[in-house]
Amino acid sequence: MKHTITLNVNGQKYTVDVEPQEKLLDVLRDKLDITSPKKGCEMGECGACTVIMNGKAVNSCLVLAVESQDAVITTVEALHADGKLHPLQQAFIDAGAVQCGFCTPGMIMSAKALLDTNPTPTEMEIKEAIAGNFCRCTGYKPIVDAIQSAAAVMKKEGA
């Protein structure tokens, strides 16, 4: 039985018909053409599909699309503004935190969810926040560095 759901993705309202077994990840990618969340393990282990749902980082492969009725979803697509990259995006580039890039959208959304609630995280807090995001290229250090420097930039910009 199909359900019609309404959700807000990156500031835009969408109304879409979904089957109960469709995941939020499937709907974002296949129906709304929002392809930054990646399909990795589909078991909530790799974090490549991480999006921010109602302020919290979640694995969009572990959320049924029908559960996202009235939800506010943010993905990497919404981060840049006026042609300017978000400090997290810029920091990932500057620190060499992107290699193959497959984990990057999920990694950045986990980092954003962290910085939204904790603008000055410790290194351990950063590691905890990205514990569910696997990266097989970088060895994580450039990613942690990038999140730290983005936090510093955001603090400066906010001040």
Binding site: V58, L62, L64, V66, E67, S110, I130, A131, G132
Partner: protein
């Protein structure tokens, strides 16, 4: 793999949810979904109806009433982890929440779901056992309360009757002098299931004769378990190196973890649990002298 199809139902009352559960034999309750959706995707469970209980009022609440903490079944592990009052009164539960999954998973996974899954190494298992929690369920004959040590029967099997589902967990408060802790080990730091885990509570730590010790162990038997014999051995007595050595040998003589575990051999788990118990007692300041 693509999930087999099912109907998604979203009741708004306990009565409605129980009725749906009773009417549809092949149905599953959905809370956080972090276990259920994986098992459905793997084809391990193929429910015809999925009953989402997150729309039922009251199941998301954390309340403190009549000397008890009451957690709604749909309370997420993130909320448990971030609750300062829970950390103050039930540190073992907070420590377990910090070990649970990862950020993304904790943001969805619920306390009720963790209990319902009845995993031998579930993060909630040992902490709820030492605190003597009650699990409140709702079903065709209304509400009833099940002591936590009677909830789990075997891996994936609970003591719930047809049409019943978990609505709340109720935990009694203890005097401020009570000490409690949860420790676990896993293969990697970060996102992994427990290789084994232990929770310990000591009432009246300062008055040796009045001391009551509670110990619960996870991932060493079919369900999380209390170590009653160890508890009575340690209660009301001074704890020194000799006592600790007895506890360690007790682990070797009385625990039978399955040999097929991917996460640790039986021998390893028994050694680790003895060491974790020693660590906790030392932290509590109740271990007199050095080990012999």
């Amino acid at each position: 793999m693509i999930m087999s199809s099912f109907d998604y139902l979203k009741p708004s009352s306990l009565e409605e949810a129980s009725k749906l559960l009773l009417e549809n034999k092949n149905s599953r309750i959905l809370a956080g979904g972090t276990d259920l959706l994986i098992r459905m995707r793997g084809g391990e469970v193929k429910p015809e109806k999925v009953i989402d209980i997150k729309n039922i009022a009251g199941l998301h609440e954390i309340t403190w009433e009549d000397g008890r903490l009451v957690l709604g079944a749909a309370v997420t592990w993130t909320r448990i982890k971030e609750d300062a009052k829970i950390a103050e009164h039930f540190p073992a539960l907070t420590q377990a929440s910090a070990e649970f999954g990862c950020y993304d998973v904790r943001n969805r996974a619920t306390i009720g779901g963790n209990i319902a899954n009845a995993a031998p190494g579930s993060e909630c298992g040992s902490p709820l056992l030492i605190y003597n929690a009650d699990v409140i369920v709702y079903g065709p004959s209304g509400e009833r309360s099940i002591p936590i040590d009677q909830v789990w029967l075997a891996p994936g099997r609970t003591n719930l009757a047809e049409g019943e589902f978990i609505t709340k967990v109720s935990i009694p408060l203890y005097p401020a002098s009570t000490k409690s802790a949860y420790r676990r080990i896993s293969r990697v730091e970060g996102q992994d299931l427990a290789t084994c885990a232990i929770a310990v509570m000591i009432s009246n730590p300062e008055e040796i004769a009045a001391r009551e010790v509670r110990i619960a162990l996870s991932a060493v038997s079919k369900t999380p378990m209390r170590a009653a014999e160890l508890e009575s051995f340690l209660s009301g007595k001074a704890i020194d190196g000799e006592t600790i050595n007895f506890c360690k040998s007790w682990m070797h003589r009385n625990l039978y973890p399955r040999a097929s575990s991917l996460r640790g051999t039986p021998e390893y788990k028994k050694i680790v649990l003895g060491n974790l118990l020693e660590d906790i007692l030392r932290e509590f300041g109740v271990l007199a002298g050095e080990l012999i």
